[in-house]
Subunit: 283 residues, 2 copies
């Protein structure tokens, strides 16, 4: 491993999992800081990080800082970490939207935006796992001003944790996750919201959930603070994906109203083909 | 067990699972028939049924016939089974929409409509399981003309398979499953359809599926023939649930466009409360 001195700023589920995975991979020193003392103490108790009393203290000797704080604090914490860390220290983050944090820190050549796809619906360090990133896509969003050595250092580190680094432009990333992550999450929320309000001749449909209804709403309402920020920060792309979704839903509705068997059959066949392509991308 | 001579008409995944579960529960004779000779031979090889050469032959000595054929053949096969079976034999079915089959067979007092909620996304007897119905809701939809003894015989049988019989009116059932089953299934299809068509600066979002995207599209495009019939047969209630869904999605879209943090926060809180209620209904 090239990185031997790591700092993790924000020791929630993702930060603590990075600490555990880095230690498993033989990274010598993993210092951690979190403004939430309880989260820091828990991450320390789990062996994910050595706790530091302040952010500057955590990053003082680091070769790489990973910032894993909630969306609203991300841009400022990246800037603060870069300012406090040694001049040759590389900074990356794990935020799930990349335009804001990358634009705000464009001047910092040794900052590389990042986003691991790990699908966790919970939060807090309690459920941290060293194998959280094994086989996962880990997006990296360098800009025109990003230092090549910094990018390569983050790529090597991410690979050491078992993830697959994928370079992508920040705005392409944000449009893609609006479709693959934020839209599915929004549909799960919308679905439970709709069912919650229904009574059919006194029958509450939530009394008779199907297995798939449970599965498809697993993340509904999860991490309210984080997800509110995600939806709002990526609102242009999320709204666009919802608009397209409504058009497709309206097409189906019209075909059903008309009893258009051919349309419905072709629509299911398209879904079947798309689902088969998803299964090909094993992971 | 009261029922000792069972007939299963349609030996696909559901019919064969009923055969296996009945035999496990000590039902003495389980005769089966399927127009698809391959499905019948497979169900027989799995020990789910003794194969009969014809429908009349399968039901000739039965106390209970369970009809588990695709939606489009359901009403006629129920009528044919009742005509061929002994006069005191009870007939039930497993179709996932109940208005049509119940209205078509309203004259038959010893017919009781039924629908087990088992969440299978595959079809065919190959994946049949004796424990398919353990703990599952099994809807029964008696009408005003249904014989009480017939209803009780089916309830007792369903309980013997480990399921929980729930009496419900056919139209209430169909509105409820439009929400708990058909709408979620439609959203899964719509989601993969939308992602399938997208390219973002050459990036295919299906190349980077999130874990939740895989989960939430598990059933997408499954059993095309069966699901086309389900969507079409229940099209009024499915279209109504889609219309409501589109209104809720549009509200969210407007709130996002306006950057309405309070709306988005309250919307996630509602989803969170509804999801918690779903989790209470453990199963």
């Amino acid at each position: 491993v090239s990185v031997q001195r790591l700092a993790v700023v924000g020791t929630g589920l993702i930060g603590a999992s990075i600490g555990l995975a880095a230690r498993d991979a033989g990274v010598g020193s993993v210092r951690g800081f979190d403004r939430d003392r309880r989260a820091l103490a828990m991450a320390s108790a789990l062996g994910a990080v050595e706790p530091a009393p302040s952010l500057p203290d955590a990053v003082a000797a680091a070769e790489l800082v990973v910032v894993a704080v909630p969306p609203r604090h991300l841009a400022a914490t990246v800037a603060g970490s870069a300012a406090a860390a040694p001049a040759d220290c590389v900074v990356t983050d794990t935020g799930s939207i990349k335009r804001g944090v990358c634009a705000a820190n464009e001047e910092i050549a040794r900052f590389v935006g990042g986003h691991p796809l790990c699908g966790a619906a919970s939060r807090g360090p309690e459920l941290a796992r060293a194998d959280m990133f094994r086989g996962a896509t880990w997006f990296l969003t360098p800009t025109g001003t990003t230092d090549c050595g910094a990018l390569e250092r983050v790529e090597a580190f991410v690979a050491v944790l078992g993830a697959m680094p994928v370079r992508i432009a920040a705005d392409v990333h944000d449009r893609a996750v609006a479709l693959t992550s934020h839209l599915p999450h929004a549909l799960a929320n919308l679905l439970v919201e709709q069912l919650q309000g229904e009574r059919i001749d006194g029958v509450d449909p939530l009394d008779f959930p199907t297995r798939f209804l449970r599965e498809t709403t697993r993340v509904a309402g999860a991490n309210p603070d984080v997800w509110r920020d995600i939806f709002l920060e990526n609102r242009d792309f999320v709204a666009a994906s919802l608009a397209k979704h409504r058009r497709l839903a309206e097409e189906l509705e019209r075909a059903l109203a008309a009893g258009d068997s051919a349309f419905v059959g072709a629509w299911i066949d398209r879904a079947s083909a798309a689902r088969a392509r998803l299964l090909e991308r094993d992971g």
